[in-house]
């Protein structure tokens, strides 16, 4: 064991550990800021949230130390049982957990509350790694593919049943892992397109061309459709000229329409865009008939489907329950309603916006201290950074995350033939990216209000421990890496 330990400390990735500590420290300071009440707050006292978080951090470090000392073979060995155990825990939680703000995701053990959904991520990651690294596994095999999907979908469903849809959505990030491992890219591309169309299309309320009767969301979506189509033509088509033709004709058409609308008669440019999209699809159909190459037909269908998807999203919104509808619409800026559902995002934008370039200084934020921002030390913790540290602080934190995630990707990539560790590393990177994307996006008003924490920043033991466990296992796996030939 002694020799192992020496090897561990020598081969462990210290850069990641340093980044981890910097993030945790910044997170703790943010919690100090968010929970500070202008009074004599003792950040080290256990009664304050900052003090409690210190304890959670201490526990996390102990937990990490333990996990770092478990050999890789045990992780591989116990991946399935651990996954199964957590599925069971998730299932039990649904029935045992008390109702906290409508969700049944917290297990209450005396004074401590634990959210199993935060921990099942590492179990799922391990399970996924184990499955994909099984000898003879192939995504092309239907049975393997279904197993793979099941590993992702089952915990998702259980968490949805706990009424924690936000946490469940995190599992979608595993598709990035699958993409890296060979899943066809077009599926991912379609998924990304759908998300982009939805987020932009259903609601850019801010009107860029104030003088023109244009729905800006629609305008952007209809601009993206030909561009995506051109991109697909570039990737999957036989000849690049089709791609260029589609891109240039569409852009020129929109530009002309814009100029006409701006300087001659204001009209809805989107009508022109719609016609352009139709022409693009028609053109591709003709190319398909002429060249008899199936991709062109599929791309034409993509263009038409995109338009259809945009309209059906708008229809779908009408079908949702009012509060769900509200939540989506407000986030997307359609309903400007400071006293109502939009209040949170509005206040959050005010807090961040008021930070300016350098921020108001540590503990000097007014919006977060005075409770204008909801959930200011958990889901909306980024507001505190925005208000107190300003644009510079936010940029620093975002770049820190980027470096951290890219470093993890690098760790995953340096595993050579060890697929287990690579899949695991990508799982961590993808989960972190998803959390960052949704949490920060929500706070700055670009993504839906989905209650998921900002890793290492949001107050709470479960989230911190969950991510620390994920990271500690990766560090251990990485420490046992093979040198790549």
């Amino acid at each position: 064991m002694a020799i192992r330990n020496v090897n561990l400390w020598r081969s462990i990735d210290w850069l990641t550990i340093i980044l981890y500590f910097v993030l945790v420290l910044c997170g703790w300071l943010s919690i100090c800021g968010a929970s500070y009440d202008f009074g004599e707050t003792d950040f080290l006292s256990f009664s304050s949230r900052a003090g409690k978080q210190l304890v959670w951090i201490g526990c996390a470090l102990v937990l990490a130390l333990v996990l770092l000392n478990i050999e890789k073979k045990y992780y591989e060995m116990f991946a399935y049982p651990v996954y199964a155990a957590f599925l069971l825990l998730l299932l039990v939680t649904i029935f045992v957990a008390p109702d906290i703000k409508g969700s049944h995701s917290w297990l209450v053990l005396g004074p401590i509350r634990i959210q199993p959904a935060e921990f099942s991520k590492f179990a799922t990651a391990l399970c996924m790694s184990r499955l994909l690294s099984t000898y003879g596994f192939s995504m092309e095999k239907r049975s393997d593919f279904i197993k793979m999907l099941a590993i992702i979908v089952v915990p998702m469903l259980l968490i949805v049943m706990q009424n924690e849809t936000g946490s469940a959505l995190v599992y979608l990030s595993f598709f990035f892992v699958l993409y890296r491992e060979g899943m066809t890219g077009s599926l991912l591309a379609l998924g990304v397109c759908a998300v982009v169309y939805f987020v932009i299309g259903v609601g850019q309320g801010e009107n860029f061309f104030a003088s023109m009767p244009v729905n800006v969301g629609q305008f952007i979506v209809f601009l993206l459709i030909p561009l995506f189509t051109a991109l697909m033509l570039g990737v999957y088509g036989k000849q690049m000229r089709h791609a260029w033709l589609v891109a240039i004709v569409n852009l020129l058409g929109v530009l002309l329409a814009y100029l006409f609308s701006r300087f001659v008669i204001p009209f809805d440019i989107c009508l022109v865009q719609l016609v352009l999209c139709g022409c693009t699809a028609l053109y591709l159909l003709m190319v398909f008939l002429a060249e008899r190459y199936a991709s062109y037909l599929l791309i034409a269908l993509f263009a038409l489907g995109s338009v259809g998807f945009y309209y059906s999203c708008n229809m779908l919104i009408d079908k949702l329950q009012p509060h769900q509808q509200m939540r989506i619409l407000v986030l997307l800026g359609i309903k400007d309603d400071p006293a109502g559902v939009g209040y949170n995002i509005n206040q959050s934008k005010i807090a961040i916006g008021s930070g300016g370039l350098w921020g108001k200084g540590f503990l000097n934020g007014t919006q977060t201290k005075l409770n204008y921002v909801p959930e200011q030390d958990t889901d909306f913790i980024f507001c505190t950074i925005g208000e107190e540290q300003g644009f510079m602080g936010c940029t620093f934190i975002l770049l820190l995350y980027a470096v951290f995630i890219i470093r993890i990707i690098m760790l995953a990539e340096r595993q050579g033939s060890v697929r287990f560790t690579r899949v695991y590393g990508y799982s961590l990177a993808a989960i972190l990216t998803f959390h960052l994307f949704v949490n920060v996006g929500m706070v700055i008003g670009l993504a839906p209000v989905i209650g998921i924490p900002l890793p290492f920043f949001s107050y709470g033991g479960s989230s911190l421990w969950g991510f620390t466990i994920l990271l500690a296992i990766l560090l251990r796996l990485d420490a046992e890496r093979e040198t790549r030939f």
Partner: protein
């Protein structure tokens, strides 16, 4: 293991996605935090509660340094709706002396966002304003029982003397008009609405300070921002020193009790008003605190109009006091000399016109005519002036006459530093042309020469006439404030205004007035050791004659000029002269002799019955 490397390039796609997310978010933050300023303003209006710190209003002293008007703590009852629980409404209403209906209405009004736009159930709202210290003491004992109610201190006016209500004026809540006209005011502020409080509002009010408090999302105050570094201290209002002698004012009001009328005294050399009494008056304390509204309603309903400041707002025929101004005009215009005599056969009789007069020796020169207040003399004077060839026409002659009157301060506002001063009325040629269709002469308008007819003056203008004669030819615009803290008086209160009459003619008129005191109509004004000059006035009107007096003393070093006007008081000698004499004695000797004190008591007791007519 080809399979492992086949997709390795996809790592670049994934890294690109991570970088894209981060860059888009940085761009968004750049927009929110740097390009867009409005969020900063939102944040400030969110978090900062700029609480106004009210300055203390300037106080007022009289000319002898006595404190007249100061500030006194009053208490507002505040309510925080969210904290109101288990209220014993009955006990609450009893402790405040209000009815259940009033309580319900107030609670509803407070919650009504239309009436009370700043309403929040988390913050203190005004429930009842201006509790006096006594009411407060009673309420405070039980306050602990009334969850959600609290007390906020504020200041109201304290008047140390129960007199001079008209002079001080009062404070009322600002109206929408005030707020629109001057952005200093906000809803709920107080503003001077009458008298000095109104005229010197800008000096008295000071400058508001600001306290920047932090307010949380529920509207609760969480302390001061940056320990008060951004606070602005209020600047207290400026103190005023009035030219009023409060004891003289009190005496004047005392002598006017049970009568309608005015007493105005002016220091001739400075134009400072020594007293400005109007009866009926009111105790200024009535118009402070919670009872203000009710008292104001009562006073304004009173048929004798106690809120009217007759000393500057009442316009009366000046009667014989006006003859002095006529004598001056005729002398200056060369119509008469001091030696000129006119006949008087119990009045002015000419071409069928008769203006009555009382029995005295005839014919008489100017000085005796003033002393005996001979109507005939001044009628002849005006008749001659209007008929004089040197003006070319009656109109021109009368215009000249009017110019003299205006130069003496009649027909226009004197510019006293009080709101609402009346102009009085001096007719001009055009007025008579219109009135008589151009066919008029000295006889037609003869009654103006004896201060009757169309001519009206305010008691202030009569007193100012006395001051002008005392000064032998000039006056300084009368004013009630002689000093403003750290500020100079307006130049009109320091610059003499000369009339169109030479000093020597004033000397003659002064002699006539002296003679009136020694041997004429004003003998009751003859004070021992003081050379008093005076002129009675008995002004005819629809009812009983008004009793008037105008005088100054001492003759050769005048310290006080006084005008007394008592409505329906009869002969000038009945009320005007004795009141005027007492005022002069009090001011010049600092006290009243025993005999005078008795006389004063007697005058105070005398009642004039006015009936139930609107005045």
């Amino acid at each position: 293991m080809n399979n492992n490397y086949r997709y390795e390039n996809r790592k670049f796609v994934i890294v690109a996605i991570v970088m894209a997310i981060v860059l888009v978010y940085i761009g968004r933050l750049f927009y929110l935090q740097i390009l867009n300023d409005e969020y900063k303003e939102y944040a400030d209006s969110n978090a900062f509660l700029d609480k106004t710190v009210y300055p203390s209003r300037g106080v007022m002293y009289d000319r002898t340094g006595k404190l007249l008007v100061s500030n006194q703590p009053a208490y507002d009852v505040m309510v925080c709706m969210r904290n109101v629980k288990d209220l014993d409404t009955l006990a609450f209403c009893q402790s405040l002396g209000i009815t259940r209906e009033f309580f319900d209405k107030r609670m509803a009004d407070v919650k009504n966002r239309r009436l009370n736009p700043g309403y929040s159930s988390y913050t203190d709202q005004l429930f009842l304003s201006q509790l006096t210290a006594e009411d407060f003491a009673m309420f405070q004992e039980q306050l602990y029982k009334f969850n959600g109610f609290s007390i906020q201190r504020r200041a109201i006016r304290q008047y140390n003397y129960p007199v001079a209500g008209h002079l001080f004026g009062d404070l009322g809540e600002v109206s929408k008009k005030h707020i629109a006209a001057d952005d200093y005011y906000v809803q709920g502020d107080f503003i001077g609405t009458q008298g000095i409080e109104s005229y010197y509002e800008k000096q008295l009010r000071g400058e508001k300070g600001k306290e920047r408090l932090l307010r949380d999302a529920y509207g609760r105050v969480k302390g001061r921002y940056m320990e008060g570094a951004m606070d602005v201290a209020p600047v207290p209002g400026k103190n005023l020193t009035l030219s009023i002698d409060i004891e003289l004012q009190a005496l004047a009001e005392r002598l006017l009790q049970n009568k309608i009328g005015s007493v105005v005294a002016i220091e001739p050399s400075t134009g400072e008003v020594l007293c400005l009494a109007s009866s009926p008056g009111f105790n200024p304390q009535m118009l402070t605190g919670r009872q203000r509204g009710e008292n104001h309603r009562l006073l304004s309903k009173d048929k004798q109009k106690p809120l009217l400041n007759r000393a500057i707002q009442g316009t009366y025929p000046p009667g014989s006091t006006f003859k002095t101004s006529q004598a001056l005009t005729y002398l200056q215009e060369g119509i008469i000399t001091p030696e000129t005599s006119f006949p008087c056969a119990l009045g002015f009789r000419f071409k069928g016109l008769h203006v009555g007069c009382h029995a005295h020796s005839s014919p008489s020169a100017l000085v005796p005519s003033l002393a005996t207040s001979c109507n005939s003399y001044f009628c002849w004077g005006l008749y001659r002036m209007i008929g004089s060839e040197k003006y070319g026409s009656s109109q021109e002659a009368f215009t000249r006459w009017k110019d003299h009157m205006v130069s003496m301060g009649f027909g226009y506002r004197l510019g006293i530093d009080l709101p609402g001063e009346a102009r009085g009325f001096i007719p001009n040629s055009a007025f008579y042309d219109k009135w008589y269709g151009g066919r008029w002469n000295g006889l037609t308008i003869i009654s103006v020469s004896i201060g009757q007819g169309e001519v009206t003056l305010t008691p202030l203008q009569i007193a100012n006439l006395g001051a002008t004669i005392a000064n032998r030819g000039y006056y300084i615009a009368p004013h009630v404030v002689k000093g403003i803290q750290d500020e100079a008086l307006d130049s009109i209160y320091t610059t003499p205004k000369y009339t169109m009459v030479e000093k020597k003619h004033y000397e003659t008129v002064a002699q006539g007035m002296r003679e009136a005191v020694l041997n004429g109509t004003c003998r009751a004004a003859n004070l021992p050791d003081i050379e008093v000059c005076g002129k009675t006035g008995t002004a005819q009107n629809r009812g009983k004659d008004h009793s008037a007096f105008m005088g100054f003393a001492p003759m050769n070093d005048p310290k006080i000029a006084v005008a007394v006007y008592v409505e329906n008081g009869g002969f000038g000698a009945v009320y005007g002269v004795p009141i005027g004499a007492l005022i002069m004695e009090k001011y010049l000797t600092g006290t009243l002799s025993e005999a005078s004190e008795k006389k004063a008591n007697d005058l105070q007791q005398r009642v004039i019955y006015y009936g139930n007519q609107e005045r």
